[in-house]
């Protein structure tokens, strides 16, 4: 550095020449050692930093990142997962009401019943409107409570032949269904849907076969009631004259 003297006018050459003859003292070795040790210590004591994220910008960027997290990310997580609940404030799953518990399981149960219907070749709309409706609207128990149950009751009354196991306590089941739905018992509603799927397991022809079986067993009144329910649901379904006549004959005999 000191060898790089700037150009000087001629009159200053003498001064330059004299200055260069001056002694060139240097700092003591102990000073050099202290400074170099401090320089190494400074580097070793701090992490290697460079670029735009070093120095004073590091603090500012950290604060900015914290604000971004607080303003953007946390509300987004809140929207997705809802408010975080303390585990202590959550009710014990075993203590939950059956309605609440079954409400979560109702769609699964309905889906299972519908799958069973499909496996048996029964169209779900044909089988029962309520089952389809339940499957389509499983979201809330309150919505189920507003569902008209008249149609479901009629379906059960018609499709459940009295001598079959599914028919046992049909009227009770009918009342229970209404009560449970009105009482927002989603679990019972789902169970009802499964039961209905069992009751309506028979297509119209099977219903007629059951009615015929009742006649063969001499249970004419039950057969006649079943037929009436059948006609209320399937008024236009063709019925062989033989069965119609048998019902009339047996009716006349009685």
């Amino acid at each position: 550095m000191n060898q790089r003297q700037p150009p000087v006018p001629p009159e200053d050459e003498r001064i330059t020449s004299l200055y260069q003859r001056l002694d060139r003292p240097e700092p003591g070795r102990h000073v050099d050692a202290a400074i170099l040790a401090a320089s190494r210590r400074e580097v070793g004591a701090r992490p290697r930093l460079s670029g735009p994220f070093s120095g004073r910008w590091r603090v500012a960027l950290s604060i900015a990142a914290m604000f971004v997290m607080a303003i953007v990310v946390v509300p987004a997580l809140w929207d997705v997962s809802g408010p975080a609940l303390d585990s202590d404030s959550l009710p014990d799953s075993s203590a939950m009401t059956p309605a609440a518990t079954s409400s979560d399981n109702a769609p699964a149960k309905i889906q299972a019943g519908t799958s069973e219907l499909k496996a048996r070749g029964v169209d779900e709309h044909e089988a029962t409107p309520s089952a389809a409706r339940l499957r389509a609207k499983p979201e809330t128990a309150s919505s189920l409570s507003t569902t008209p149950v008249r149609e479901e009751r009629a379906t059960e009354q018609v499709l459940a032949p009295s001598p079959l196991p599914a028919q046992v306590g049909a009227s009770q089941s009918q009342k229970a269904t209404a009560n449970e739905i009105d009482g927002i018992a989603a679990d019972s509603v789902a169970r009802e849907a499964t039961t209905q799927s069992t009751v309506i397991d028979m297509n119209p022809q099977q219903q007629l076969d059951n009615i015929k079986a009742l006649l063969d067993q001499g249970r004419v009144d039950e057969a006649r009631d079943a037929f009436k329910r059948f006609r209320s649901v399937f008024p236009d379904y063709p019925v062989v004259d033989e069965l119609q006549r048998s019902l009339d004959i047996r009716n006349n005999e009685n």
Partner: protein, 187 residues
């Protein structure tokens, strides 16, 4: 590129990034001129070493704030000059020369006479060199700083102005008056 060929700014940036070797190269390159910047003006080895060490300590401590747009020599001599000013303030302005403003060229008659006094017995160059050093120390403070930065550190007028925090014309004036005084003394 070899360390010795790398410029001061690149070495300082390397040290800023944690390269201690870069600082050693930088230190070896400037240790002499910076030390003599103090010693030629103060004359006391102990005080000069103290200020010299403090200068480098400040360089080390401020390494993260260093930016490449600043010339390293300008930066370190600005630190050194500030420490020197603080030193003068602590010890008090020297009577006569240091308390006067020579930038305007209004040199008092007493000082003018003293500076123009031809030393007797300057028979050889060695005596002239010693006389030069003496005259340098007798220069007004600002002129002396400008002279030292120009002759010891090889700074241009612009760089002197930057290092001392004055306008270019002021730095140029200080250097011109210093040279004129010494020229008359040595002639």
């Amino acid at each position: 590129m070899d360390d010795a060929d790398e410029n001061d700014e690149a070495l300082m940036l390397r040290y800023q990034a944690g390269d201690a070797v870069a600082f050693e190269v930088l230190y070896q390159r400037h240790r002499g001129p910076v030390y003599r910047f103090f010693l030629r003006q103060i004359g006391d080895v102990g005080i000069s070493e103290e200020l010299y060490q403090e200068t480098w300590m400040r360089v080390i401590g401020a390494r993260l704030r260093y930016r490449k747009r600043a010339r390293f020599t300008t930066w370190i001599y600005r630190i050194a000059n500030n420490l020197l000013i603080d030193h003068w303030r602590r010890v008090g302005a020297r009577p006569g020369v240091d308390s006067l403003d020579f930038d305007s060229g209004n040199t008092p008659a007493a000082a003018q006479v003293d500076l123009n006094r031809q030393p007797e017995g300057l028979a050889d160059d060695r005596a002239r060199v010693a006389e030069l050093l003496k005259r340098i120390r007798q220069l007004p403070r600002n002129q002396r700083v400008a002279f030292m930065l120009h002759y010891e550190s090889g700074m241009s007028v612009e760089q002197i102005a930057d290092a001392t925090g004055v306008k270019r014309e002021t730095a140029k004036s200080r250097l011109r008056y210093a040279m004129a005084t010494l020229r008359e003394e040595i002639a």
